[in-house]
Amino acid sequence: MPKVTINGKELDAPAGINLIQAAEMLGMEIPHYCYHPALTVVGNCRMCLVEVEKAPKLQIACNTQVSDGMVVHTNSERARAAQQAVLEFLLINHPIDCPVCDQAGECKLQDYYMDYDRQPSRFPLGKKNKKGKAIDIGSDVMLDQERCILCARCTRFLDEVTHTSELAIFERGDHNRIDTYPGRKLNNKYAGNIIDICPVGALTEKDFRFRMRVWYMHRTPSVCAGCERGCAIDIYENHGRIYRYKPRHNPLVNGYWMCDEGRHSFTNLQTERRITRALYQSDGRLVPETFSAGLRRAAGAIRKCGEANGARAIGALVGAQATNEEIFALKSFMNDVIGSDVIGGMSYSPPGSSGDDDLLIRANKNPNTRGLSAQGIALDGLDTLAQEVSSGRLKMLIALRADACTALGEAEFIKRFGPLDYLLVFDTDVNETAQMANQVIPIAAYPEIEGTFTNFQGVVQRLHRAFDPPGEAKSAIEAITDLSMLLDGVERPQAADRIFAEMAAREAAFAGLEYEKLGHNGLKLNV
């Protein structure tokens, strides 16, 4: 391995990495704009100029690979002067409209100015070049050409990742501007990523514009539940309201990107349909009651059904939206508390939704289909359970994040499950199935819980609780364990890590995995 020295610190660097990466491994930053690890190197911003001993000129760190014996200075007088010069150049024609710019607070121009420049401008304000502002370039993206520093990250993304090339640089010199071709607009399913990789406020999100200052938001690492890819994301939220999702780098799953559908999927969580109290069916309508009253009513129904028809008259249907821990908790509840092994799974994707593509998007719109199968739950629950019903054996169904009615259509659902005596639903929304239920228990959505999803490649990734569930809703695990407490008086663990440990002990696919070791990227199932 080549040995390089950066600012006096030595590193045995993996061959082939550049100086930005080498510095990062030493915990040092070499400022850079155009370099992005997932895009080709263009070396145009010149922000990363560093001094390399024996080279007469300053070198750009992004295009300089480590070599043995290389001695680098990133903060020598010459390097600092170059950094200051580049920042001054970048700012002379910049509109500096930070007060009205969404990027303020996470802008690399602001950050590097504070870290590397801090000089007053020598350029007269009145002579700045004028370019286009607030241009709708399609998709959910707004362009401000004056703020653009022409790093070509966006164009490279569209050339190299989506291969759609909707954006290009037009004109020459300081008249250069990013734009779409005449009469054309952004048209791909990943356009939002250019907003993320734009180091400044030149590309902003239409939906997010002017809605929230970035420093008022909290960031929570999580996983997109939009499809079985399960892209690693960060949830940005303020007082329980989600303002945006951004992809979080995970080399095992999504690299640096996420799709636009997933990016906007949080809007589905913040609807009028969220359930905040327990509901019970009375005279054809759902009537609200307290969470504990709902659970008591559910416990009563279970007891009654069990006594009258035996434990196997109670079955469970679990959707692939449930976390691994929720699936395990429900399974344990059925086996240990009720004494029934009648469990089916479902994994439903609405018709007309996007199919598999060669980047990230998967046709299966459930984040944990693989997790269901990994715990031995077959995905044909809608058929197998329906047979149990029609044979008269199954009288009561507990549905966890399983919107069977939407999946089947109302007529078919009634045909298959109408004969049930009792339908108990654990869900976040008043969906079609909930509307048919005898009892609905409100549970938390995935940004509101700890837990894990297993993506289609078998990568188990952690969710984190970004904020509390609305109203009286509780995590599904709490709801299930509270219910079992009512039934048998035994206290069971509710924390995701405890349940994960039990699951790892009992489910072969999860054997050897430890919750705490999942880390940022997750770990692969051992199958």
Binding site: G43, K57, I60, I92
Partner: protein, 432 residues
């Protein structure tokens, strides 16, 4: 002196292949294909000390020797006929008058580096030149001199011409390659160098028209003969483009090392209108200017001009008389580089515009003394920190004009107007 590169002046209709053949045409190519091994050609050119005429003066034989031997990829030769440097107009005359001299140089280069395809990249304005050159190619093709079996050697060479769309940066060799590949002419970071990854990712030699047209003469007459013309380290016949306030502007072939003083006062017939000389840019607008005192001491070859503090570049010699407003002259130069910067690199994109804005102010009489310092500091900040040397091409004139003609710049600030305008002499053009 015998005319070599400009022998069309002595031989009417040299552009016709029959005339060219009647005057030893393609003799050197024949020698290169039948009597010499590729390494021998490269060695001969190395020994001749031929240096590139496109501006950077890089040793041509050495450039060729960087091409990997037995490359699994095809090797390309590119002839740089983008000729866009202000004050430079040699290639244009060569294309018009001696196309076969260029084709012969290309053939020998292809043989030397093992290339079977050459692209001739011409500036967008070379419409007529392209017609003439294409006609010459057709003649050579008809005679089997280029094509699948060059002169019966079994070696194929095809030559394609390509016209740009009018951008200075397309002459920068990697900008040229990008443009040739159908992309925006954004110069590339080096490494990799074109010799390893040039056109279409393959090893490529890029040479200027004039460089290539020296090659047949070296092969015919030998490196020693070549080195005997002018200084040994920077030898050869050279085309000088004389322009500006000069009585006889035009293209002159002279030996390397010719005194600039004689070029101006003998060959060029002295300063227009009998005025005094104020300054000379020796190599196209990209390089430091010589004051009159400096200019008369310099010999025109790469090393002497460099030793005197400038560069000979393309040998576009621009003469300015005492009525020239140096602020305006520099502003004109800055306008060019501002207009032609491709805009990739931050320092060049922003610096060229900033410098032009300051010079517009200074010329208009709204500049400040501080601007004079800023000009130097902005030019310094641009220099050496970019992908190609276009940034330096403005930095160098700025850093020579401002200190060398400081009084004139200060007068503009003090009088709050252009002192020359008052005298009625406004610009290079207006003075002639």
């Amino acid at each position: 002196m015998e005319r070599i590169l400009t022998r069309w002046l002595d031989i009417p209709n040299l552009r016709d292949i029959d005339v060219y053949l009647a005057h030893d045409g393609y003799k050197a190519a024949r020698k290169a294909f039948f009597d010499m091994k590729p390494e021998e050609i490269i060695d001969e050119v190395k020994n001749s000390n031929l240096r590139g005429r496109g501006g950077a003066a890089f040793p041509t034989g050495m450039k060729w020797s960087f091409i990997p031997k037995n490359s699994p990829k095809p090797v390309y030769v590119c002839c740089n006929a983008d000729e866009s440097e202000p004050g430079t107009f040699a290639n244009r005359y060569q294309l018009e008058n001696d196309p076969h001299g260029i084709i012969e140089g290309i053939l020998i280069t292809c043989r030397a580096v093992g290339a079977h395809v050459c692209y001739v990249y011409m500036r967008g304005e070379f419409a007529i030149q392209k017609q003439i050159f294409d006609a010459a190619l057709a003649q050579a093709r008809a005679k089997g001199i280029i094509g699948p079996d060059v002169m019966g050697s079994g070696f194929s060479v095809e030559i394609y011409t390509h016209r740009g769309a009018g951008a200075y940066i397309c002459g920068e060799e990697t900008g040229l390659l990008e443009s040739l590949e159908g992309k925006r002419a954004y110069p590339r970071n080096r490494p990799p160098f074109p010799a390893i990854q040039g056109a279409f990712g393959c090893p490529t030699v890029v040479n200027n028209v004039e460089t290539l047209s020296n090659v047949p003469w070296i092969i015919n007459r030998g490196a020693d003969w070549y080195k005997s013309i002018g200084p040994e380290k920077s030898p050869g016949p050279k085309l000088f483009c004389l322009s500006g306030h000069i009585n006889r502007p035009g293209l002159y072939e002279l030996p390397m090392g010719f005194p600039l003083k004689d070029l101006i006062y003998e060959v060029g017939g002295g300063i227009l209108g009998g005025r005094k000389l104020k300054g000379v840019i020796p190599g196209g607008s990209s390089f430091p200017i010589f004051t009159a005192e400096e200019a008369v001491k310099v010999n025109m070859d790469f090393d002497s001009v460099r030793a005197a503090g400038s560069l000979m570049g393309t040998a576009g010699v621009m003469v300015m008389n005492e009525d020239t407003c140096m602020v305006r002259a520099l502003r004109t130069i800055a306008h060019f580089y501002h207009h032609e910067s491709c805009g990739q690199c931050t320092p060049c994109r922003e610096g060229t515009g900033w410098i032009e804005k300051m010079l517009i102010d200074l010329e208009a009489g709204c500049g400040t003394m501080q601007d004079l310092d800023y000009l130097i500091s902005v030019a310094t900040n641009m220099e050496g920190n970019t992908i190609c040397v276009l940034a330096d091409s403005l930095s160098m004139p700025v850093k020579s004009f401002v200190p060398k003609y400081k009084d004139e710049f200060i007068e503009h600030v003090k009088q709050k107007r252009c002192p020359f305008r008052a005298n009625g002499a406004q610009s290079l053009r207006a003075a002639s």
